[in-house]
């Protein structure tokens, strides 16, 4: 950001503060009622009692938290969520990193690189649900993959593990979310000065050295940003788990969805508050390593 302190129109700090706040007032006017207030409502509801039919009795009880923390199911749900999050993160990171690396360092024509980059991003602007169900004709019992493997005599009977399984859940996540890794890592890599790498090559660095000492460290901010997106989306998701596991698996939020379905608002709210705390802790940990605001504006 270029500020020009010497100019006569430089404002006094208090006027700059005022005009800054005026410009973001509309943003705040949306975020307060539709982000801050709903979070507070959920927080409040987690301390309320229910009549079991969706009615909430204002009050203060910790019984919802005790119920959530004491249930063996909670641990199972968190383990399942962490498992999905970890594998999705791992695969999106590896694929996203190398796709970005290919586009930045191996495609010589810059126009072509931008074109290929757009090819990767277009599905992001289409429906996630449709992209998820589009795996059914491929992974199903009579799907293309099973049919192909059977006609090639690799297997004798269809693999049941392909669809409606944890594998299918991870496949759907990776399919949807790799773009969230590609974009920030691509941005970070595109800013690496090519001459730095040339210098390293001239100084005798191997391909692996360049990767380890230059590309990975300088892409860290992109990796951190992508991780925030992927982790928060997987941990907050429920429909992929619900549909792609065929009801066989559940995550924290899909259990929340079931609770809401049977009007168990307070327990659902308590579990949501716990999940939000976990999420905030993870995101805060990542934010310690990178100043995203500076990163995006650079």
């Amino acid at each position: 950001m270029q500020s020009s302190p010497g100019l006569p129109r430089t404002k006094s700090p208090s006027r700059a503060n005022l005009s800054g706040w005026l410009y973001v007032t509309p943003l705040i006017a949306v975020l307060v009622p539709f982000f801050v207030a709903p979070i507070l409502v959920v927080l409040a509801a987690s301390f309320f009692q229910t009549d079991g039919f969706g009615g909430l009795t204002p009050g203060f009880t910790l019984s919802n938290y005790i119920e959530v923390l004491h249930s063996a199911l909670t641990l199972k749900l968190y383990l399942a969520t962490i498992k999905f999050t970890f594998f999705t993160w791992l695969f999106t990171l590896v694929i996203g990193f190398f796709v970005a690396y290919f586009l930045v360092f191996h495609v010589r024509n810059q126009l072509l690189a931008i074109g290929l980059f757009l090819v990767c991003t277009v599905p992001f602007w289409t429906s996630n649900i449709i992209r998820m169900i589009s795996w059914i004709p491929l992974l199903g019992k009579e799907g293309l993959i099973n049919a192909g493997l059977m006609s090639a005599h690799v297997i004798n009977q269809p693999l049941e593990v392909l669809l409606f399984s944890d594998l299918a859940v991870v496949i759907a996540y990776v399919h949807q979310l790799t773009i969230f890794m590609i974009v920030p890592i691509f941005n970070a890599m595109a800013r690496i000065d090519k001459r730095v790498i040339e210098a390293a090559v001239d100084a005798g660095a191997s391909r692996f050295d360049i990767m380890r000492h230059i590309v990975v460290p300088m892409s860290k901010s992109g990796i951190a940003l992508g991780t925030i997106f992927v982790v928060s989306i997987v941990m907050g998701d429920f429909f992929v788990v619900k549909v792609m596991s065929g009801g066989g698996s559940a995550s924290v939020v899909s259990a929340f969805y079931e609770d809401v379905g049977v009007l168990q608002y307070p327990t659902a709210a308590a579990s949501a508050v716990l999940l939000t705390l976990v999420l905030v802790a993870i995101v805060a940990l990542i934010l310690r390593t990178v100043d995203i605001r500076q990163e995006i504006a650079r």
Binding site: R9, Y23, V24, A37, R195
Partner: protein, 297 residues
């Protein structure tokens, strides 16, 4: 990190051109490996979607998997005429209207916030992290909170009130983040020059900043429209009694097991592709016009 970079730059000055991506000569083996990976990724990205577009054109005997059973538009007709698949037409209508509304509001508010965030002001970090919070919060939880809030205030949840707000809490952070990236390429001297030449604050914004940032604003609009049009988790508890299209698709995935689900997927993706095409086309057109004007001048 930046210091290390500039140090290295000095060292790199006399370097000859042979990096991992040499400008001439044979490509390293990693090129072929990574090109293979990239191709596989793109096939995995588009392959499944193309499968359902093809399968949606089956005739009445059609099922959810290959092989194709005949060719017809049966399931598209079925989609818009059958009561059993729900109110597809109405939800289509609502989703488009809602997306247009969200787009306009997102562009205006993101643009203003982009202007505001150009200079640091006291408390800007608070606003920024509130926005990040809105982005990463689980959509379903926020949706439930919004729904309960409306209930507590005695307001009726509907797609143009509660769902509109819930969707804005999702599209605005994206819009503002795009504005950050766009603004970082804007030179404040242009605005200052306009002001020095006597333009009012409003004229400087309308006649200088908006035209310069036009491609970025189109990008914000693209995010606003598509994210709203496909938004699901935040709308689920806030849309009230009338469904938006993604909610309709969601209920279909749970109880419709015919290719009309795929037909709906094809139709909604065509809409998305039109919007993406128009947006990207507009950006290219603006850039081209600029290029030719610069060449002529």
């Amino acid at each position: 990190m930046s210091m290390a970079t500039s140090d290295l730059r000095v060292v790199a000055a006399p370097a000859t051109r042979k990096a991992i991506a040499p400008s001439r000569g044979g490509r390293p083996w990693t090129f072929y490996v990574l090109a293979g990976l990239f191709t596989a990724y793109v096939i995995a990205l588009y392959g499944p979607m193309i499968c359902i577009y093809i399968l949606s054109f089956q005739d009445v005997r059609g099922g959810l998997v290959f092989p194709m059973k005949g060719h017809s538009l049966h399931w598209f007709v079925d989609l818009f005429t059958q009561v059993r698949t729900g109110d597809v037409k109405g939800s289509f209508d609502r989703s488009i209207k809602l997306a247009v509304l969200v787009t306009v509001i997102t562009v205006v508010i993101s643009f203003m916030a982009g202007l505001g965030f150009r200079r640091r002001f006291r408390g800007d970090g608070f606003v920024f992290y509130m926005m990040i919070g809105s982005l990463v919060a689980p959509g379903l939880v926020l949706g439930l909170g919004t729904g309960l809030l409306f209930q507590a205030l005695g307001l009726n949840a509907s797609w143009y009130t509660s769902a509109l707000g819930a969707q804005l809490s999702w599209t605005l952070p994206f819009g503002v983040l795009v504005m950050f990236a766009v603004m970082s390429r804007f030179n404040n001297a242009w605005e200052e020059a306009a002001r020095d030449l006597g333009a009012s604050r409003w004229q400087a914004i309308w006649l200088v900043i908006v035209p310069v940032l036009a491609p970025g604003l189109v990008a914000v609009a693209l995010f606003g429209f598509t994210l709203s049009y496909d938004e699901f988790a935040r709308s689920l508890q806030t849309a009230g009694s009338l469904n938006t299209l993604p909610l309709e698709i969601w209920s279909m995935t749970l109880n419709v097991t015919s290719p009309s689900l795929y037909a709906l997927g094809t139709v909604t993706t065509i809409i998305s592709f039109i919007v993406i095409g128009v947006s990207l086309g507009t950006i290219v057109l603006i850039q081209k016009k600029r290029g030719s004007r610069a060449a002529a001048g």
